[in-house]
């Protein structure tokens, strides 16, 4: 599982305060903790700072990469902010995210075209939020097709089929996981990723629901997740589900996690 650590997001109070105070060590601590917990990418988001987003996003990338070799997931729809972050980024970054919304697509495509970057492709278009497998596949076909045509390699694409809350429609869980299965079958070599906590909006015991949903999505082929890697129960769930899905040779990761005290 490719873990994208979600904690460095300015919509969280502590991060907002650290950015405003330009407190590099506070940001670096959150980055280091996530890497130690197993993050492969460190997401950076400064979206709440209208006008200052490029400057802050660049500052976040610089400071995160001072303490870790891991690449960042640059979390913004604004090409200027992304370019500012990329100007200092070391290694192969991830762009979070492009979608089929016309404006966003046209602005972000030139950034990723022909480059060795990972990109999250969110199944959303100007027609609104997709609900069914067919809605999502229609967007995914067009979006992935467009990326491939613009020389983004299939291995660099992470399709996010868009999680919607189960509380408002009983089919939203199953339609999502069935889309994962179809995407993996349709585009060999592609990745999938999602932030999945939206599934439990409006329901109690959200963590329990999120973990169960993660297990089901992994069974269908999900191999990327935007999560809090410091959530030990979620990490344990991922490790067990991956072993059960046949992706853990000799259960080595499962055993390693056991010895590290995850279970």
């Amino acid at each position: 599982m490719i873990i994208i650590g979600e904690l460095i997001n300015a919509s969280r109070k502590a991060i907002k305060a650290a950015i405003e105070a330009q407190d590099a060590s506070a940001i670096q601590k959150v980055a280091e903790d996530q890497v130690a917990a197993g993050a492969d990418y460190i997401d950076v988001n400064a979206g709440i700072f209208v006008g200052k987003e490029p400057e802050y996003l660049r500052w976040l990338v610089q400071n995160v990469q001072e303490v870790t070799d891991k690449p960042c997931a640059i979390d913004s729809p604004d090409p200027h902010a992304i370019e500012a972050a990329l100007s200092v980024h070391q290694g192969s970054p991830m762009i979070n995210s492009i979608s089929l919304e016309k404006e966003r697509y046209e602005k972000l495509l030139p950034i990723v075209a022909g480059k060795d970057m990972k990109v999250i492709a969110l199944c959303m278009s100007d027609a609104g939020m997709p609900q069914t497998v067919a809605d999502r596949m229609k967007i995914a076909d067009e979006l992935v097709g467009g990326l491939l045509k613009n020389n983004v390699s299939v291995e660099n694409i992470f399709v996010d089929p868009l999680v919607q809350p189960l509380s408002v429609d009983k089919t939203f869980g199953v339609e999502f996981i069935n889309t994962i299965e179809k995407i993996v079958a349709t585009f060999p070599g592609i990745h999938t990723a999602c932030g999945l906590s939206n599934i439990s909006y409006g329901l109690p015991a959200r963590k329990f629901m999120n973990q169960t949903f993660m297990t089901m999505a992994i069974a269908k082929g999900l191999d990327g997740a935007i999560i809090n890697p410091l959530d030990g129960r979620m990490m344990a769930t991922i490790i067990a589900a991956e072993a059960l899905s046949g992706r853990d040779n000799f259960c080595m990761n499962y055993l390693k996690a056991f010895r590290a005290g995850y279970f």
Binding site: D126, P165, V168, G202, L203, P204
Partner: protein, 207 residues
């Protein structure tokens, strides 16, 4: 007595009983206003209270609203002009650039459940559309939703457009990244963190 049973059936999310009892009360000559206000609408008020207190969850709020609407459908053909007038008109939508509709739909549904006439403009709504529709419908309140930090500025421009149009219509805002502080900053007339809260807010604003 049995208007209370309609109230209870809404709170039990029991659509069949709500329609059965509503029809029976109507046939028995019970005052329509009593069925509507003391049965259906006050039940939705109670649902809102229980949701806000954490006792009920979103799916239960949806089921209650569905049951309430089924009862309302029975009463509607019998509501004469002037009788059981709507409590006010609310124009609602998700602001320009934002396609999220779930929160907006929950608010819209609870407003209807409280007896307001709701004009739902959908998602990605231009500020001019809010202003134009509110003027046409003589709306008391415009309710704006946004789920992205990147679309919150569209709330500001819409609130500004309403003020510039010189309308008396009040504006309220909500959505995951939105706060009371942001409402104050852009000069909106109110903010709520959840759907029942938004209903309360509108009641205060139209009172």
């Amino acid at each position: 007595m049995t208007v209370k049973e309609i109230f209870d059936a809404v709170l039990a999310f029991d659509e069949a009983t709500v329609t059965g009892k509503t029809q029976a009360e109507l046939d028995g000559g019970t005052d329509i206003d009593a069925i509507l206000n003391d049965g259906l609408i006050s039940a939705m008020d109670e649902v809102g209270e229980r949701f806000s207190s954490g006792e009920l969850f979103v799916p239960e709020m949806l089921m209650a609203a569905q049951a309430m609407k089924a009862g309302l459908a029975i009463l509607k053909p019998h509501l004469s002009a002037g009788q059981s007038q709507s409590k006010g008109v609310v124009v609602i939508g998700t602001v320009k650039g934002d396609l999220h509709d779930i929160g907006k739909n929950l608010v819209s549904m609870m407003m209807e459940g409280a007896g307001f006439e709701v004009v739902d403009l959908g998602v990605d709504v231009e500020s001019e559309a809010f202003v134009k529709t509110a003027a046409e419908k003589n709306a008391q309140v415009i309710a704006l939703s946004a789920l992205l930090t990147t679309t919150m500025p569209s709330m500001e421009s819409t609130v500004k457009a309403v003020k510039e149009a010189g309308m008396a219509t009040r504006t309220i805002i909500g959505g995951a990244p939105v706060t009371q502080a942001f409402a104050d900053q852009i000069g909106a007339d109110g903010y709520s963190a959840d759907a029942p809260g938004a209903v309360k807010l509108v009641k205060e604003l139209v009172a």
